[in-house]
Amino acid sequence: DVKVTQSSRYLVKRTGEKVFLECVQDMDHENMFWYRQDPGLGLRLIYFSYDVKMKEKGDIPEGYSVSREKKERFSLILESASTNQTSMYLCASSPTGVTNEQFFGPGTRLTVL
């Protein structure tokens, strides 16, 4: 069974802290994605990666960075967390190819105080 796991389901951090969100997939997928989900806005793409050490900005990259040192792991980094980054963060992975089907993790609900 395919699986995408995220390191935390719930996280509470303080303004200005550096925050790491980890995502691991066991499907040997080339592509990995980070989204944030906010009520009424759906899912918005923050960053994605199509290969190890490769990354591309999505629609809302400001305030975020990513790291992909291994194929199975994709990390989202908030360099200096702010209250407007309080949100649900979803990781996904997909194989390369025309299907574009993405498989999602359970999400991390981040609260920045």
Partner: protein
């Protein structure tokens, strides 16, 4: 650029009644189209997808969707709703050449007994 509109933010239906969730997309060519469902506290699960061929596609849990090119729509239907269908539903579109999905804002389905 692609975009997706889900006109209904909330929908309430009675258990056993039929359901139709609307999705309109904007894309210059024939896109790949998806419906995902998110149950409370969970990640997204793929319900069905359209790539080509028969415009009526069947998915899991008794759902189906119809692609109508003339209306740029991909509406999701179910003939008889169960209480367990209460969730948030997302329509998404992907370009034919690329790995990114663009999601709609979502429709929250409430099922009343």
């Amino acid at each position: 650029a692609q975009s997706v509109t889900q006109p209904d933010i909330h929908i309430t239906v009675s258990e056993g009644a039929s359901l139709e969730l609307r999705c309109n997309y904007s894309y210059g060519a024939t896109p790949y189209l998806f419906w995902y469902v998110q149950s409370p506290g969970q990640g997204l699960q793929l319900l069905l997808k359209y790539f080509s061929g028969d415009t009526l596609v069947q998915g899991i849990k008794g759902f189906e969707a119809e692609f109508k090119r003339s209306q740029s729509s991909f509406n999701l239907r179910k003939p008889s709703v169960h209480w367990s269908d209460a969730a948030e539903y997302f329509c998404a579109v992907a370009a034919r050449y690329g790995n990114k999905l663009v999601f709609g804002a979502g429709t929250i389905l409430r099922v009343k007994s």
